[in-house]
């Protein structure tokens, strides 16, 4: 569906993208993850023909964005980082213009404008000036604009940034619905968001692709960092002595607390975290030391993200 090949972008002397390649299939929700300045917006701008690349190719359904821009752009709807809205217009006027520019006419134009307004739930404010709308509604108008012309691919750059939690949930639901019959690519730095709505995740750091997989697989990648942290009533020496006897504990840390207890962090590569918790519990109980709190932490996308993006940071 979308092919990005060896994309490189320099802004003057600043390198924003470094030989980025990936391929996107039809009909999934893709998440584009990266720290600030990683190059997410740059990549999206190039994919949608808003920006030239220094080197590399992008094609959508076989149409090269640089050689056949009109054909390629018809297949995509794009919401840039800042929704490009005309402040002195109403959503209805604005959407009519975008629809016409996308080649819609007459009854079809009317029907589609109605449809996207319903989808994004902006029917109630369609005759107010955009300058008078709240951020959430502006974002919706921006998304509505991207949906016009029924494009195969919808690209959204940080669609939920700056919204309140209820709006975020609504927009996420909307993205979920769109994913049923469109290919959706969205960027974010919020990991839980990507984890919740995306079927595949691309992580970029400093303009390079560092991972491309399902959220579940990415977590599996990080299995070795399963952690158990607990608090026991014991002195540091007592706790260390017990921990020394446990062979599954590859690495552990004992930390003294104000009261007569210690915090202990254990790292293990064993997949059965529950079994480990049980062993720790009985080991301490046998010695007459009570465990007053225990938490098993599995690696989540956040750890993957931090490790991958930090890893490439060291490289530079």
């Amino acid at each position: 569906m979308i092919r990005v090949e060896h994309l490189t972008k320099y802004y003057g002397d600043v390198m924003a993208l470094n030989d980025l390649s990936f391929e996107i299939d039809e009909g999934h929700v893709y998440g584009f993850l990266g720290a600030n300045g990683a190059g997410k917006s740059t990549t999206m701008n190039i994919m949608t023909g808003c920006l030239s690349a220094t080197d590399g190719k992008v094609s959508i359904d076989g149409y090269d964005i640089f050689e056949k821009p009109e054909k390629a752009k018809k297949l995509m709807g794009y919401l840039p980082e800042l929704p490009p809205l005309y402040m002195n217009e109403t959503p209805a006027e604005y959407l009519r213009f975008v629809g016409e520019a996308k080649g819609l006419k007459g009854a079809e134009l009317k029907r589609q404008v109605e449809e996207v307004m319903e989808q994004t739930n902006i029917g109630g404010i369609k005759n107010r000036l955009i300058s008078a709308l709240s951020k959430g509604y502006r974002q919706r108008v921006g998304i509505a604009q991207a949906l016009l012309g029924n494009p195969k691919v919808i690209i959204l750059d940080e669609p939920t940034v700056g919204l309140d939690p209820i709006q975020i949930i609504e927009i996420r639901d909307l993205i979920g619905q769109l994913g049923e019959n469109h290919t959706v690519i969205l960027s974010s730095h919020i990991l839980s968001e990507v984890q919740a709505i995306c079927e595949k995740v691309l992580i970029i750091a400093q303009g390079k692709l560092v991972a491309f997989d399902t959220p579940r697989n990415l977590e599996k990648l990080m299995l070795s960092s399963n952690q158990v942290s607990f608090t026991a009533e014991a002195s540091v020496d007592e706790a260390s002595e017990i921990m020394e006897r446990m062979e599954f504990a590859e690495e552990y840390q004992v930390e003294k607390r104000e009261d007569d207890a210690v915090n202990i962090f254990v790292k293990t590569d064993s997949a059965n975290v529950r079994d480990i918790c049980r062993q720790i519990f009985f080991a301490f109980a046998d010695q007459g030391n009570a465990i007053i709190e225990m938490e098993a932490k599995k690696a989540n996308l956040e750890d993957v993200f931090i490790e991958l993006t930090e890893g490439s940071g060291v490289e530079e």
């Binding site: 802004y11 003057g12 701008n45 949608t48 023909g49 808003c50 920006l51 030239s52 821009p69 009109e70 054909k71 752009k73 018809k74 995509m76 794009y78 840039p80 800042l82 490009p84 809205l85 005309y86 402040m87 002195n88 217009e89 006027e93 213009f97 975008v98 016409e100 520019a101 996308k102 080649g103 604009q145």
Partner: protein, 287 residues
Amino acid sequence: MIAVWKHELSNYFHSLTAYIFSAFLLALVGLGAMLYNIQSAVANFEYVLSFVSLGFVVMIPIVTMRVVAEERKQKTDQLLYSLPLKTTHIILGKYLALLVVYLAPLLIISFYPLIFAQFGEVYLPTSFGSLFAFFMMGAALLAVGIFISSLTENTGFAAGIAISVILLNYYSVTLAEYVSSTSLGSAIAFAGIAAVLGFVVRYVTKHNRLAYGVAVALCLAVLGVYALDRSKFEGLLPDIMTKLSLFERFYKFVNGVFDLTAIIYYITVIVFFLFLSVQSLEKRRYN
């Protein structure tokens, strides 16, 4: 292109810009008609147009300053880039919308000579010839205004530059009389122009080496020609200044000459500056 055209038009008529422009033009023409045709009892409508032409210095920047600059400021240029539109069509759509805004009051004005003809002898061919030239000159200045607007995202800045450029063009003939017509003076002026061009290239392309290259190459060319045959520069600068004047060519029509070369010159200016505007918009993608 039609979508952009309609959008721009509705914009102008929503934001009052079109009405202000029309009102200003009509008021100026009315004032001119009062001064020349009624008070002095002259039947030549073309004198009114020649009086009004100075008004372009303000009127053109008012309508053109936002055309592209505002899109940049509001970041809506990104929408235009992502829509399946050709850059040429975007600029043409915008330009044609401006032409409509400009043509509307001119249509009303075109009745004036007919009205005056009721009351006395009016030589209509000159009146309408001048009106046509007036339209063409305005159309050329609009193209210049669009280009200036495409250089910046600051509308005030765009208006300021446009006012100075049009004013300079208006007075270029008068200035031409004062500038040195010696070959050395002309050569120095051309070297200066080469340097300015270098700055413009640098501003538009953000490419230092190219800019310096252009400036240095042009300076060397000037120096070379000057060394070989200094008589070539004799009176060249005032000559060129007079030739470049859009207004000077318009006055020929006022004096009753239908000058086809002037019309061709106006069309060339329109095409040239619209082309530059397309390049300037396109350039943004390559920053």
